[in-house]
Symmetry: C2
Subunit: 456 residues, 2 copies
């Protein structure tokens, strides 16, 4: 039997009839559900000849295979029946303790009993939406925001309102104005979504002053803040800042964390920390969708935690990623035209680059894929078509020389577009950071001599 | 910092103020979201002195720890970076091939490319609801139905309409009448949910005739049937029947499977097979909730499949569970009063027992927990309060002598209730199977001489 091709009743229906037939059965949310650009790109970029600066993949090859075998060997010897069995919906005690320890590394003091282990950080975002969002409800997010959160918000038919950013993260003054405006319109947001540290995709970090102000606003207005913090231990320079959770004391901040970036996304383990009444709803949501996080992978985490080697591994990742970030910044300097600007992240996985506004990075991506290089076009990080001239570039998944070659290929395509624009209009584009516009402040202008660069 | 107890702003709020405050933020679905009785019972029954006949736990202790270590050692040596990395949303190719093989063991021919790997069978149910259910939509289910599906349906604010069962599974004539009635009321169901083989909780199996008729009805009415098939390889006697998927040819049947019962629930891996237009929506739903199933556990499955030992393990499980089923049936015969009836499953994990209707099993559970024994009260399998005198008894998770002792304890409590009723009313209750009522036909009357039993 080949599905849809033959069946007990004879010839299968035609695809167009199929679509009509099933369409009446679909929930209304499916009309707005969209695919994650990043997930689609992952499929395209599976070919080994493609240099993918698109994904958000950590360098799992740096995790020693023998260590994985050792930890799982121990789990198998001591705990195989438990690893293979169902576990509690909120997670195994040993994993919740490991998470409390990881939160302590980030400076936040959390009781293991206040931790919900989730199936990746993505499920934490999904469960918060399930608990809070009715169709039409407002979610306030950064602009740009994590492209993978957009399909989740959309699946709950939320109305996403984005607030601008600069090098100090979300513009909290603009947030306050936005909340005022929404209040006048009778639309009270359900939560504010932020990635405060090494933001995905912008790479910038919210300043301490803004963190304090954001928490104040949340408390004044009795609004939830969903703090999505996947990267904070991956800091390559500068000083760590307190989490919003810590500043708020667990009143209105729901904290989402994950093992994906500082250990391994393949485990599909993350967590949520929330005020009790919210936590109860998150647990109910987890019960009804996945029953429980995997004890098999949870015991890997707690076993690895017990080995004491994890801090050294994070230190190793920091070294690897710092080198790659530096390679990317150097490559951008070397290969991108002077009219391009980009952020200079102190940690995390991403640089956000902005090109002259006559370049559409969605169109550019098609050219880039022909040149066997990929990035995430900026529009994926906005719900309203903004970000058209920006792109997210990942530096964690490639070796320095690969990063250089990938950026070189993109830079060559951009230079062609710039030259073409110049030839047609007879003008030379202004530097994006000096232009007015949505993303103008999410830049750190490369300190360079344009003249010197043209000679080099 | 202890969450909710202290914070930057001073003393924490009182719990009642908390609830009021957050209540305005919750989505309307949370007003109907309920906890799974089974999940709650799992927490209660964690104490080692409690004999739990409540859960649906497979006997993971029978899986050899050294085999788990061997498979994971091989994954670590050959594939550690891949196991630890993100994977495709629809699953790794090797796992989808393993699933196609498992479907072949069940007599269904499926292309690996038509398989979506999910985070447990529960996610398959959730994703089907996400794709199909708007608030108020009708889902038709068996009565009793899988207690763990009820919270999922409820979370999507579905209106669950249940159709009676007997020893041949869902009464398909009653289904046809129900669909007629719903049509007259202008309520077209989105899907029909069924566990056709060794049903959870009733233990009964849908006859071939009814399977054919159900598929016909689905095709005539262009309705999805969600075939939830976790147990079909766990057959202890009798002949395997074709899946609804195979009978339908993949037109209107969405098939949900899982590794939980024939391998290990701790892996959190299941699957869905669906007509392409439906599958597209399931994939979008999976993207936005969990991104991808765990490559770490997926590679365990495909590694174990490659070892060729799995069929022998399933055979071993069959032997273990057959013995336990027989122990449970014998224990019921020995310890339950003559007025009780129960099903005699040919496979799976559960027996459904029905007591005289003056006994409420929800009340009985409180007494049972005091006697350190647990079961799932029948009401958990209905949305309308039916099933009050029934219970689900699990035989897969306990040794034969433990099963006997657990049933003995429950039987003693039941006997007390029966005696008390007799003393108060002066009457002896009729056998439930002879009484009219919703569940009257889901019984296989023990062939026994009541007189002999009282002497024994």
């Amino acid at each position: 039997m080949t599905l849809e091709k033959q069946g007990a009743g004879g010839e299968g229906p035609s695809p167009s009839r199929d679509l009509r037939r099933y369409a009446a059965l679909f929930a209304s949310r499916t009309r707005v559900m969209t695919s994650s650009v990043m997930r689609d790109l992952m499929a395209i970029t599976e070919h080994p000849e493609v240099i993918s600066l698109a994904g958000g993949l950590p360098d799992t090859a740096s995790f020693p295979g023998e260590e994985m075998a050792r930890v799982m060997g121990q789990v198998a010897r001591e705990n195989s029946a438990r690893a293979l069995q169902y576990g509690p919906t909120d997670g195994l005690a040993s994993t919740r303790e490991a998470i409390a320890q990881v939160m302590a590394w980030q400076g936040a003091s959390v009781e293991p009993g206040d931790v919900l282990v989730t199936t990746g950080g993505q499920q934490a975002i999904d469960l918060v939406c399930k608990a809070l969002i009715d169709p039409g409800d407002v979610i306030v997010a950064e602009g740009p925001t994590y492209p993978g959160a957009v399909p989740t918000f959309t699946a709950y038919q939320a109305d996403v309102v984005q607030v601008g950013m600069d090098d100090d993260g979300m513009k909290v003054d603009e947030l306050a104005e936005t909340l005022e405006r929404l209040e006048r319109e009778g639309r009270r947001p359900k939560f504010i979504y932020t990635v405060p540290t090494f933001q995905n995709p912008a790479g910038v970090t919210m300043s301490l002053e803004r963190r304090r102000r954001l928490v104040e606003i949340a408390n004044e207005r009795e609004l939830i803040v969903l703090e999505d913090e996947p990267y904070s231990l991956l800091r390559y320079e500068g000083t760590a800042l307190p989490t919003l959770l810590e500043l708020d004391g667990g009143r209105f901040v729901v904290h989402a964390g994950t093992f994906s970036k500082m250990l391994a996304p393949g485990l599909r383990l993350g967590w949520a920390i929330a005020p009790r009444p919210v936590m109860e709803k998150l647990v109910l949501g987890a019960q009804s969708t996945t029953l429980c996080p995997s004890p098999f992978t949870q015991l890997f985490v707690s076993g690895y935690m017990a080995s004491g080697q994890w801090p050294a591994y994070i230190e190793e990742l920091r070294g690897i990623y710092r080198t790659r970030r530096d390679a990317m910044l150097a490559a951008l300097e070397a290969h991108f035209p002077p009219s391009a600007t980009w952020t200079r992240p102190q940690g995390g996985l991403f640089v956000w680059a902005t090109l002259p506004d006559f370049i559409d990075t969605t169109d550019l991506l098609a050219l880039a894929l022909s040149a066997n290089v990929a990035f995430v076009p900026g529009r994926a990080a906005f719900v309203n078509g903004d970000g058209a001239s920006s792109m997210r570039l990942n530096f964690s998944a490639s070796e320095p020389e690969t990063i250089d070659e990938g950026v070189r290929r993109i830079g060559a395509l951009v230079a062609e577009q710039v030259d073409l624009f110049g030839a047609i209009t007879g003008s030379f584009p202004a530097v994006a950071g000096e232009e007015p516009g949505e993303m103008a402040e999410v830049v750190e202008l490369p300190r360079r001599d344009q003249e010197q660069r043209r000679q080099g």
